[in-house]
């Protein structure tokens, strides 16, 4: 299911506001990340699964991707690998979100090219701060 929803103002190209793609199979988490990002200078796109995320990333070239690890179908690590393998999406900052906390998850995410890694439950302030750092303010 391709579920790409532009947040308010996503459609209009606003160079001041960076475009962030939020990928999670849980609608509630998407809503939370979206609400969090609205507190910063961001436009938000969402996708409910891995395939939709890759399609949306290619179509819209987001500046950053907030990516859930545990999803049915393509999981977050595979999506991350796909993003980093594609010249069109390679530049996007990838922050992984996961409910798991096995040490090898972190290593897998790093190996796939993820830029940062947050464990659920995460603090919205923390997410904003990390994203801000990565996108260079």
């Amino acid at each position: 299911v391709l579920a790409v929803n532009g947040s308010a103002g996503a459609g209009t190209a606003d160079p001041e506001r960076k475009l962030v793609l939020v990928v999670d199979d849980e609608e509630m988490v998407r809503a939370l990340v979206q609400a969090t990002l609205r507190r910063g200078p961001y436009q938000v796109l969402t996708a409910g699964d891995g395939a939709a995320a890759l399609a949306a990333a290619r179509a819209h070239r987001p500046d950053a991707v907030i990516l859930d690890v545990t999803m049915p179908g393509l999981d977050g690590v595979e999506v991350c690998r796909g993003l980093k393998a594609d010249a069109a999406t390679r530049h996007a900052v990838v922050i992984m979100l996961t409910a798991r906390m096995q040490p090898d998850d972190h290593a897998r995410a790093r190996a796939a090219g993820a830029d940062d890694y947050l464990v659920k439950p995460f603090r919205p302030g923390e997410l904003l701060q990390r994203l801000g750092n990565r996108l260079g303010g």
Binding site: K120, P121, F122
Partner: protein, 525 residues
């Protein structure tokens, strides 16, 4: 003489009495078979010595039959002397024999006395048999009659001898004398009949040719005995070998059996270790999944409450209300998950106890359908309980839990306006009441039907995404149904709906329905 006498020490009183009686009877009966009264005058001392000597020689060559009894031709000279000279012949040979046996075996006196008395009685019975049945003298014209009488005398000797031996052994070994006779001596009677006949032949030989005749006849008798003995010895040793082989085989079988048991034990141990490893793997998987399932609602609660604490004007009222609602929903989800986890833990550690009572399914369903109807007002919920199948014997709380789970699943996985029906029936060939919860929802793919009752298994299909669930409900339902001794199964067609059927023990309806509740068939939501 065939005898295996009891152990020498610690003789019971009854045994002593028997020995005394046998010896006394043997001595007292002596004059009865003394042809010319008890006198030693005119006795053929040379002939008596010959027969006594032959008795001792024959005893030297006695054979052992498989450790059960002894055979010898001792009886031949002994009986021949009795036939020829009556009591003096018997006394002479018997006394010689008994004395010899004592010297040779170092037998204790009581054993010698018993043997002497027994042999006297046996010899006396033989000479009396011949005197009663046989001819007055061993003449040429009376050979057949003498032969028959000799055979009968041999049998008489056998009877007296083995009767007494069995009796005395029975007393000494505290076993039934009949058993001992059957085990050791039963099959010896033809042997003694033949020996009796041979004794007659030897007696004839003495009358015709004197000592030469006796020796000439005793030689082939002895040879035959030796030939038979050899055969018997070989047979005995074959039997012994077979017995040894048998014992060896038995030992091997026992060893093999022990090895097999050891193998089985090791296999059981390995299976136990494998089961423990599997359990440990399941536990860590359970913890990993449980922690994932706990983290998701926690993420919502923490995240949205943090967003709500920012007291800024940016947050529109709509969002504020939405966030508050989401926090509440996630907290509810978390509470349900914790409840389910506790239930699973109780079930797995066997700490769930049932308090069964007669329960009206209509009463149990009422609040469940009311709550489901309130949260899903556009669903059509109905019940159809057969009057006879309304009552079950079960734990009311657990039944409510089962029904609430199945009804909420049915509502959750079917579209607005979908029908959810709960029925109770007796089905042919099935014990107890069959309760069915049917919906017209999305259904379950066939390949997933087997797994849906396992822990943390949720139907994985695009349509179920976005529907929250812990993946524990159906596991708990199945365990609770099985605790009641029931079974649960599911039939489903994708796109058409699912029907969960489970059984509970039936209960008789009480005479008067309690409280006069509204007819359960009227419950609809």
């Amino acid at each position: 003489l065939t005898t295996r006498s009891p152990a020498a020490t610690g003789l019971p009183l009854r045994l002593v009495a028997l020995v005394g009686t046998v010896f006394g009877a043997g001595v007292i009966a002596l004059p009865l078979s003394w042809p010319a009264g008890p006198t030693l005058e005119g006795l053929p001392w040379g002939a008596l010595a010959l027969f006594a000597g032959l008795t001792l020689v024959a005893e030297q060559f006695a054979g052992d039959i498989a450790g059960r009894s002894k055979t010898s031709v001792t009886t031949v000279p002994l009986l021949a002397a009795s036939f020829l000279f009556g009591a003096p012949g018997g006394v002479a040979t018997v006394a010689a024999f008994a004395l010899w046996a004592k010297v040779r075996a170092g037998s204790p006196p009581h054993r010698m006395l018993f043997n002497l008395g027994m042999a006297l009685l046996a010899a006396e019975s033989a000479s009396w048999t011949v005197r009663l049945l046989g001819p007055s003298r061993f003449g040429r014209d009376s050979f057949e009659a003498a032969l028959l009488a000799g055979a009968a005398a041999g049998l008489g000797y056998y009877l007296v001898n083995h009767l007494l031996i069995s009796l005395v052994r029975g007393l000494a070994e505290r076993r039934s004398p009949w058993r001992i006779w059957a085990e050791h001596y039963r099959w010896l009677w033809p042997h003694y009949a033949v020996l009796g006949g041979l004794a007659v032949v030897v007696a004839y030989g003495y009358q015709a040719f004197g000592a030469t005749g006796v020796l000439a006849l005793m030689a082939p008798v002895g040879m035959m005995h030796l030939a038979i003995r050899q055969y018997v010895d070989r047979t005995t040793s074959s039997i012994r070998q077979l017995e040894a082989l048998n014992a060896e085989l038995q030992g091997e079988i026992a060893q093999r059996r022990a090895a097999e048991e050891e193998n089985a034990r090791l296999a059981r141990e390995a299976a136990r270790v494998a089961a423990l490893e599997e359990l440990s793997r399941l536990k860590s998987e359970f913890i990993s999944i449980a922690s994932h399932e706990l983290r998701t609602p926690l993420t919502g609660i923490l995240g949205f409450s943090e967003l709500l604490t920012h007291n800024d004007a940016v947050l529109p009222d709509d969002d504020r209300q939405r966030f508050q609602r989401l926090v509440f929903q996630q907290a509810e989800q978390l509470a349900a998950l914790v409840d389910n986890l506790l239930d699973v833990s109780r079930i797995e550690s066997g700490r769930v106890t049932l308090e069964p009572s007669a329960l009206d399914l209509a009463d149990a369903l009422w609040p469940i359908l009311e709550a489901a109807g309130a949260s899903a007002p556009r669903h059509a919920l109905s019940t159809d309980l057969a009057p006879a199948a309304r009552w079950v014997r079960a734990d009311p709380d657990k039944v409510r839990q089962i029904l609430a789970n199945l009804v909420s699943n049915a509502v959750k996985y079917s579209p607005d306006g979908g029908r959810v029906t709960v029925t109770a029936r007796f089905e042919p060939g099935i014990d107890g009441v069959t309760i069915a919860v049917a919906d017209e929802g999305m259904g379950i793919p066939e390949e997933q039907l087997d797994r849906i009752f396992d822990r943390f298994q949720r139907v994985d299909a695009p349509a179920t995404r976005g529907i929250r669930g812990t993946g524990l409900g159906l596991f708990i339902v199945r365990e609770l149904v099985e605790l009641h001794g029931g079974t649960i199964r599911v039939e489903s067609t994708v796109g058409r709906g699912s029907t969960f059927r489970f059984t509970l023990p039936a209960a008789a309806a009480p005479a008067a329905p309690p409280g006069g509740v509204a007819s359960p068939e009227a419950i609809t939501a």
